[in-house]
């Protein structure tokens, strides 16, 4: 089979899974639905492997294959096809997404077991994977936008999965609307491409762009910045990041799948995909890189002080995506994609571990209340440490190799790109510090009440579930893990998924070691071979190892500091917090971004709405005709003799009046 046939198969399996589960939920048992869900993704993953196999079979320069199903829209001679592009970048993404998704589906089998909405969950989850793969495999910008928006919808549906929680539905709405803003950016970019280049097909656009645009031509910059709006909204970069932390209202597997491993990396993929355009607009690429850098520092500082376990990991996600955005914007495409992959492994793992712990804590998410889980849940704690080490970039874990590759590329490009290298190491320090803040808080110390009970009885503590944000009791009738939901370390599905990810988080970095192996690098030649930056900036092995050394030291330093503050000398931590309470408050308020957006956008809009509703509707719109009616009515009351038939009278007056007026103009103008 050809690579494109595998490509269609990758898409078909999860779509079929979603429709089957969604339409047949009354007939399917929950087990069947779950197995169907996992199976569909497994088929997708195997097809992605098939596509990889088929792609490796052809010479490097032929590894971009397009296949079209039918014409989606055709206007003025410009066709938009329902087509897919299978190339190394797409296959790499498809493998990562379907692979990690498969493990998260497996985890969900057990994690969601006692939920009333079990089948609905798998229907949504399969739909999400279909949308994400559509986004990845799309062969033109319009189909990309379709996948892009479907992913946004799937995210909405899954964030508000427990739809009786008002906080969850509000968070879903926020995510959806911000994502729509991103969609608009992409739509405008596609329209501009259509106007300038007469096509929205990737290959045609990338082929024509270099002849059509001079370097840094304003239109090219505009196109790239509009693409960036889409990328930033989806990837939760400043200033479109506020939805991601709220998205943690969804079930934990959703956070792992969508809000860490796959969907939020779509922006990184998009910039890598559109790299021929970004290389024609270096200014836009630099802006994107700066946004990535700012986000990675911003999110890193917020993660230092937030106390909600899932939100710390969410801010960490923003920060890590900042690295990737920075990487693909400065031309380190391979390194950016490499980090995307390793991040998917360790971040999914961290969320899974967090999910187990939160379940054991009866849905309480505050890390200040957690301690001593190393004894209560050794397997989970062990994997939490593995994930944290990978996140902290500790050698030889996967994050160690991938993060440094981006930073040494920046250093090697030189000039102002040094800023990205230095900023990146500062961010790495923050990362290592906050990831071990979690580890030291959660795993070490004397067991907290819940951990104690777990050790004693073997069952996690459970009261009736309540909303961690608002404290309301949850409505378990429509789907929420009930009081007898015991999942901590009990199920082989969860252990298998977490164990596999643990191995990948540990060893995933080894496919690309400076001077030893460069599997990814050479595989990506089929997609990035045309790039000047990618081929000219070659990092010498010595520099690469120097970078790795700095990374290792940064990580070690930060972990020891965290150990000192959270384990050895806790009074020092309290003193620091007391003395810098203003900084602490500023960070804990997430730099007041929510308040700022509320003030700048939401409030003015509602004010305008109220103004329209009150003043304009009443006086301006009503006035236009209200006045007329009043005049006619007064006139009518003078002449009318009978109460009935006043409507006919209005009509008569009006028609005579208007016809007369019209005739007057007719005579006057001719």
């Amino acid at each position: 089979m050809s690579a494109t046939t595998y490509g269609w198969l990758i898409l078909a399996a999860p779509l079929a899974g979603s429709i089957t589960i969604g339409a047949g939920w009354r007939k399917l048992s929950p087990q069947a639905a779950g197995i169907l869900g996992v199976g569909a993704i497994a088929v997708s993953f195997l097809s992605a492997l098939g596509a990889l196999w088929a792609l490796l079979d052809v010479p490097v320069e032929e590894r971009q294959m397009v296949d079209s199903l039918y014409t989606y829209a055709d206007l003025g001679g410009i066709k938009i096809d329902l087509s897919i592009l299978v190339d190394p970048l797409a296959v790499f993404m498809a493998l990562t997404v379907s692979g990690v998704s498969m493990l998260i589906h497996l985890y969900s089998l057990a994690y969601m077991r006692s939920d009333e909405g079990y089948r609905r969950f798998f229907a949504y989850l399969n739909f999400f994977v279909f949308s994400m793969l559509l986004l990845i495999l799309a062969g033109n910008f319009v189909l990309l936008i379709v996948g892009w928006a479907f992913v946004g919808y799937a995210s909405y549906a899954l964030i508000s999965f427990w739809y009786r929680r008002n906080t969850a539905t509000a968070a879903g709405m926020k995510a959806f609307v911000i994502n729509v803003v991103g969609d608009i950016g992409l739509v405008l970019a596609a329209i501009l491409l259509l106007r300038e280049l007469g096509s929205v097909d990737y290959l045609t656009v990338f082929d024509r762009a270099p002849q059509h645009f001079a370097v840094n031509q304003p239109t090219a910059i505009a196109i790239c910045l509009l693409i960036c709006v889409g990328a930033f909204a989806k990837s939760a970069q400043l200033p479109f990041h506020t939805w991601l932390a709220d998205a943690m209202e969804g079930p934990t597997p959703v956070s792992a799948l969508i809000h860490a491993a796959t969907m939020v990396t779509a922006g990184v993929y998009l910039i890598a995909r559109a790299h021929p355009l970004f290389e024609l607009a270096p200014t836009a690429a630099d802006i994107a890189a700066f946004v990535g850098l700012t986000t990675l520092i911003f999110a890193g500082t917020v993660a230092l002080v937030v106390t909600d376990l899932k939100r710390i990991i969410a801010y960490s996600t923003m920060s890590q995506i900042g690295y990737m955005i920075m990487g693909v914007s400065i031309g380190a495409y391979g390194a950016g994609m490499f980090h995307l992959m390793t991040h998917a492994f360790f971040k999914a793992l961290l969320f899974m571990a967090a999910g187990s712990i939160i379940a054991a804590m009866a849905s309480r998410q505050n890390i200040d209340r957690m301690s001593g889980f190393a004894r209560a849940m050794p397997f989970t704690s062990g994997l939490l440490v593995v994930g944290s080490l990978a996140l902290a970039g500790f050698p030889p874990f996967s994050g160690f190799f991938s993060k440094d590759e981006i930073l040494v590329f920046a250093a090697e490009r030189g000039g102002m790109y040094w800023i990205f290298a230095i900023g990146g190491y500062v961010g790495a320090f923050l990362t290592a510090f906050y990831s071990f803040r979690i580890v030291f808080r959660v795993c070490f110390g004397d067991p907290c009440e819940e951990a104690e009970e777990l050790i004693r009885t073997g069952l996690p503590a459970h009261g009736p579930p309540e909303n961690p944000v608002s404290g309301e009791p949850e409505d378990v009738a429509v789907g929420f893990p009930g009081a007898d939901h015991h999942i901590a370390e009990k199920n082989w599905e969860m252990k298998l998924a977490m164990g596999t990810l643990g191995v990948l988080a540990l060893l995933g970095g080894l496919i690309q070691i400076p001077g030893v192996s460069h599997l990814l690098e050479s595989f990506f030649d089929g997609s990035f071979g045309d790039s000047k930056l990618y081929t000219t900036v070659q990092v010498p092995t010595g520099t690469a190892w120097a970078g790795l050394l700095i990374g290792a030291l940064t990580s070690l330093l930060a972990i020891s500091l965290a150990h000192h503050l959270y384990i050895s000398d806790r009074s020092l931590l309290a003193r620091i917090r007391a003395e810098s309470s203003q900084i602490h408050d500023f960070l804990a308020a997430k730099w007041y971004f929510d308040e700022l957006l509320d003030l700048l956008i939401y409030r003015p809009l509602t004010a305008v709405g109220r103004f329209f509703d009150g003043f304009a509707e009443r006086w301006v719109v009503g006035g236009v005709v209200g006045g007329t009616v009043a005049v006619v009515r007064r006139f009518g009351s003078l002449t009318r003799t009978a109460q009935s038939g006043y409507l006919r009278f209005y009509a008569a007056v009006l028609s005579t009046g208007t016809v007369g007026l019209g005739l007057y103009f007719l005579i006057a103008s001719s």
Binding site: Y72, G77, W148, A149, T169, V187, F206
Partner: protein
């Protein structure tokens, strides 16, 4: 063929008056289904690859006045004809399954379903007539005739302040219609210039008026159309009428009648007053932009679900007007596609509102919530309608809006950029309505109930239609493209008087489509070759 399509609904409505009460519903559904069948026959049988008219009927009607009974259908109108027949079938079916009763103080005639269905029949004939007419006076006559059945439908079967609502509706639309009548007569008289007066579109096209006369007559037509849509500032009749109107009738008002106005711009205003249309381009585009912003802002402050849908309709009609007045092939064809999409979606939304009302007993969004738990299919159907309303990529509405924005982008950049903000607002108000009725907590006393068969019989086919259009939007685009490009060329050819050469002038106004764009891309032979990226 066109005659039987046009008069079936009216005749069936009149016959229904003589039938026993319990047969009327079935009889009307059968008649509406027949009409839809005829319309689909036209769609499948006619050829819409060029701008030529199909099934032309041309009889002398009032020879003394030069009025002809002249009908025809082309790519511009065929989609709207099918839409009209389809939405009417939906409304008639819904009404047959949920007999209209009217408010508490309804007059005795409200208990006569035959009268209700006869009014619907008259309304359908009038609407189809407006789409098919090829004679200016005939168009105006049908356009005015549309008003009468709706006056009775709101006045007899409406709720609340129905009397005030009908008065407002009549005054607004009557003023518009009468001004248009004056304009139409003036056009024919002045075009004849002392010779034989004719209202036929072909004759009028041959003798275009001078620019100054065109301008004020265009203004009269534009006012009538903008009131009917409605557009911002002249929408004063809409809130009251929407509050009172029976919901199935509202599906027609919002889904179909508003499209007659938009179609009027394309068919009549552009062909007869091209110079004026070009002169007024910016003004109308600004009004359209106003409608988008005003409609959206209102839609997300209202709590009455009818008004949310109503103001959303104002905003969507703003987008359609924007596309039409971009005066480019992509904008216009996008607008025609969007008229069809919005017709389906808006109608479906009002049936959903009817279903919500049946469950909550209120139309206030703040008193709704949590319907999803026992009603998953209802939730899914409503979700699909909501997503299509906000022009979710993947729906045909997205393709329509994409081309509308593309057209507007190239003729008036700043307006298009601001208008695209309306897309985000649409996401907010559409989702807000969904979320607050389907999600969150169920209010005291309400129970979650799945769509019953009588509701599903109407809502499910509409949802399937939305999905179908989303999968193959090109089936519609391919049929409407020739008609749209004819509208553009009517303008471009006339652009001569504004500048040196037609193309130059047209380029200045941004009138040309992507194919004939000045300095456009010459596709080379190697382009479009899949799998040879090395080129």
């Amino acid at each position: 063929m066109l005659n039987s399509l046009l008069w079936t609904p009216l005749l069936a409505g009149l016959i229904g008056l003589a039938l026993p009460k319990r047969w009327v519903g079935t009889w009307s559904v059968a008649a509406a289904a027949t009409t839809l069948g005829l319309a689909i026959g036209l769609l499948l049988d006619g050829s819409y690859g060029s701008d030529a008219l199909n099934y032309v009927v041309d009889e002398s009607w009032i020879p003394d006045l030069g009025v002809r009974y002249s009908l025809g259908v082309d790519g511009l109108s065929i989609g709207l004809v099918v839409l009209t027949a389809a939405i009417w079938l939906a409304t008639v079916t819904w009404s047959a399954l949920h007999p209209p009763r009217g408010g508490d103080d309804a007059p005795a005639s409200a208990r006569n379903p035959a009268l209700y269905f006869a009014m619907l029949g008259i309304g359908e004939t009038a609407t189809l007539g407006a789409f098919l007419a090829q004679d200016l006076l005939l168009f105006v006559a049908f356009f005015d005739l549309m008003l009468i059945p709706f006056y009775f439908l709101v006045g007899i079967w409406g709720q609340g302040e129905r009397r005030a609502a009908t008065i407002k509706m009549i005054i607004y639309t009557l003023v518009g219609s009468l001004l248009m009548l004056v304009g139409a007569i003036a056009t024919a008289v002045m075009a004849a210039d002392g010779g034989t007066v004719s209202f036929a579109i072909a004759d009028l096209r041959e003798h275009l008026l001078g620019e100054s006369s065109q301008k004020w007559i265009f203004a009269l037509f534009a006012l009538a159309f903008l009131v009917k849509m409605p557009a911002v500032l002249v929408h004063g009749w809409m809130p009251d009428a929407y509050r009172s109107c029976p919901l199935p009738v509202l599906a027609l008002l919002s889904g179909v009648l508003s499209k007659v106005a938009a179609y009027g711009f394309l068919r009549w205003a552009f062909s007869l007053f091209p110079d004026a249309a070009i002169d007024f381009q910016l003004v109308i585009m600004l009004i359209a932009l106003g409608s988008i912003i005003y409609g959206s802002a209102m839609a997300f402050t209202q709590t009455n679900v009818r008004l949310i849908a109503g103001f959303s309709s104002v905003a969507q009609m703003g987008f359609i007007t924007l596309g039409i007045f971009s005066m480019r092939i992509d904008g216009i064809d996008g607008a025609v596609l969007q008229m069809i999409n919005h017709g389906i979606v808006a109608a479906a939304a009002f049936f959903v509102i009817a279903a919500l009302y049946a469950r909550f007993g209120t139309e206030d969004l703040t008193e709704m919530g949590g319907m999803a738990s026992k009603a998953p299919f209802f939730a899914v159907a409503f979700m699909i309608i909501t997503l299509a309303t906000l022009a979710m990529p993947g729906s045909a509405n997205f393709i329509g809006e994409f081309y509308i924005l593309s057209g507007a982008f190239q003729s008036k950049l700043a307006i298009a950029v601001i208008a695209s903000g309306g897309v985000a607002l649409a996401a907010f108000y559409a989702l807000r309505m969904y979320q607050r009725s389907i999600h969150n907590r169920l209010p005291e006393g309400a129970t979650s109930r799945e769509l019953d068969l009588r509701e599903a019989a109407v809502i499910v086919p509409l949802v399937l239609l939305i999905i179908g259009c989303g999968l193959v939007p090109n089936k519609i685009l391919a049929r409407t493209e020739a008609g749209s490009s004819a509208s553009v060329s009517a303008l471009v050819s006339q652009c001569r008087e504004h500048g040196a050469a037609p193309t130059e002038c047209a380029a200045e106004y941004g009138l040309l489509g992507p194919t004939n764009r000045e300095g456009g891309f010459e596709p080379s032979e190697s382009d479009g070759g899949a799998g040879n990226p090395t080129e």
